[in-house]
Amino acid sequence: MAQQDDTQSILKVERLAVSLPDGTPILKGIDFELRRGEVFALVGESGSGKSMTALAIMRLLPEGLRYDRGCIYLQDTELLSLPEAAMQRIRGRRIAMIFQEPMSALNPVMTIGEQIGEALKLHLGLRGRKQRERVIQLLQEVGIPEPETRLDWYPHQLSGGQRQRVMIAMALACEPDVLIADEPTTALDVTIQAQILDLLKSLQRKRGLAVLFITHDMGVVAEIADRVAVMYHGEIVEQADTRHFLIDPEHPYTQQLLKNALPLRALKPAPKNQSLLEAKGIKVWFQQGGGWFSRKKRITRAVDGVDLTIRPGETLALVGESGSGKSTLGMALLRLNELTEGQILFDEQVDLATLNERALRPWRRHIQVIFQDPFAAFNPRMTVGESIREGMITLKVGPQDKASQRERVAELLQKVGLQPEHMDRYPHEFSGGQRQRLGIARALAVEPRLIICDEPTSALDVTVRAQIIDLLNTLQEEQGVSYLFITHDLSILPRIAHRVAVMQQGKIVEEGRVEQILRVPQHPYTQQLLEAAPKLVRTAVSDLW
């Protein structure tokens, strides 16, 4: 190729259609092109087909899926008509790919040096010392400290962010023309996410890479992409420059998507100034090891002296990164895991921490819980009606005959936006968002005064996430229920929280009203968290107040 100007297309996808063996279409004719040196973002919610597009380009579709029609050109080569052996020379050499989950995407029983070296040997014929030197160079480039020793490490010895760096080094080892990044930052904490995005951006500029960036996160799009395509149900509904796209989206679906992605402020009535639940000096320490014959015990201080107060009708958001102990704290307040130390004063009168299971039972109905994973939250062998009724039976809440209980279940289902006839169905018949609604209904069935929401929205798409948050807010208005809302997502705070507590390594480092925390954070860790959030979110937040 003699001349390469910036607008030359390097990868071109035409009328690409893919379907399941039973004929259900997954991709319904996708057209786009990737230009040299640009970052092209493919945005969409789960099931929109964005990851399938990436795998289709690599010709790595899951077994059973088949191409119906379409062409994929890598410069002048049509990929779909290549024999498999020729395609193998393109994978890793000319198109490389990185994946969402860096832990499972790396082979756990091979050193990272071996795994990177494998590509070098395969495509460039590098062996021995030369290979080793090149691997060290690559690891240095992606910012792994002490690459000479880390080279012989196994994936589990690295942190999540470092693993993703190794994945990037592996992808870039043979200097490909195109990099496909499939949600590369989704599984990472915000601070790490920001670092990885920076790294990708700088490598892309330095090498003039063309990047196909797949994500569901509008904030990330604004951060990294030059152009954007929005996918919906296997089709591209809108394609535009990022700047144009963010300011003036055309398609209604895109407009909705953007609106839901941005922080919104809910007008929340101020709660009464008394305490519903007051936790003092909560400690949860886990012992690890220590069997019959071992003396050494390691102690993990998951929660290490936490005080917090939740008022009636209030939402307290508990924010922190993974491993900060926020979920453990939630379970401890429910007395669902062993408390090492501390008091849980409920209603300013009874200390739940001192009660045994039997004495605790009358209080259980007041504190309920909603979980993150809507697929694990329901017993697959019980109808959802039975699941919702369970609490009424065990805690003796409401009517005690079956017919009136079923009436009440019907009522609850309507309240959370479902139909009474859903009662006799099984959990697998519902979507993720619907199950989250069912979880709320199950909690509401015993008329609790506090619901501990353990990341209830993080497994959901933005549109559904917004609906669930609105539902929670409505219920709070109607019934005055309080929430302890555990989350890692800063962008939803203005919409859900009255107050925010920031948790790091088992301790609460900062606590205050939501606008106070988001606008003038005091603690360095809070500041770091906020800075790591995508710019799109940060500007929107500062516009709220």
Binding site: R89, G92, F99, E101, S104, P108, V109, Y154
Partner: protein, 325 residues
Amino acid sequence: MLKYLIRRLLYAIPILIGVNLITFALFFMVNTPDDMARIHLGAKQTTPEMIAAWKQAHGYDKPLFFNGNAEGLDTLTDTLFFQQSVRLFTFDFGLSDSGRDIGADIQQRMWPSLALALPTFLLGLWVNITLALVAVLFRYSRVDKTALVAAVLLMSISGLFYIIGGQVLFSKVLHWVPISGYQPGADAWRFLILPVLIGVFAGLGAGLRWYRTLFLEEVNKDYVRTARAKGLSEWRTLSRHVLRNGLLPILTGVVVVIPTLFMGSLVMESFFGIPGLGSYTIEAIQGQDFAIVKAMVFLGAVLYIAGLILTDIAYAWADPRVRFK
């Protein structure tokens, strides 16, 4: 790691004590030595004197756990439990009911057992894993489906039919190898080749299916996709990435049996007349020689526990997630 090993070794002690208690309870409490004497002397026309004489001759005339007639430490040691079971811990197996030295018998007979069991084990492992990898390479295609159907068919036929069929075909009809017998030394292979091949063949169906399932579970994991995205061919992906990870669960099932290979195979050895521990055991069972059966139970338990510890070591060696913990 060393500490962990020592812990495992210590854990073996209560297990061996448990094994001893179970066998002791079976042989001396559910069935009293009187019953044993009666069986050996023939059920009819036994006098109490004959029983007492038999018991004394075989050392079964002591009390179970506590000897009131003895003094000092002897109250505990001069008992059936101590003499018959605790002694086993020093690998002192004593005499069989027919008066042979069990320890010497075991030392002599474990080598033919090993000569048969080890090749069967290794060849079987190799054949099963290779075929399973090939089946996974062609997964869900006609090759794979045929292999699966064949595996179910093979599994559904009792091993006894393979043995009898093999003997008839290769020895009786074709006269390729002797029908049974054994000769130590260089000529042993003529006697071993048929039982080894039959052993491998009989285990083929179950083995192929098990390994195929393990490999299939790995094939859909993310790191395999990464390997493919690197440009590796399907066979290289399987033999480099999938095999190495698939070997981890295989190790747990496989390493544990290695020490027990010494015990030989009861059926194989007796069909092919190989004078190993398997046929030794079967003779003891058929001759109702409790002393030998008891010794073999203890030996088997020791070897099994050795296998468990060996598995731990192998696992730690093969899985860096355990090695670097």
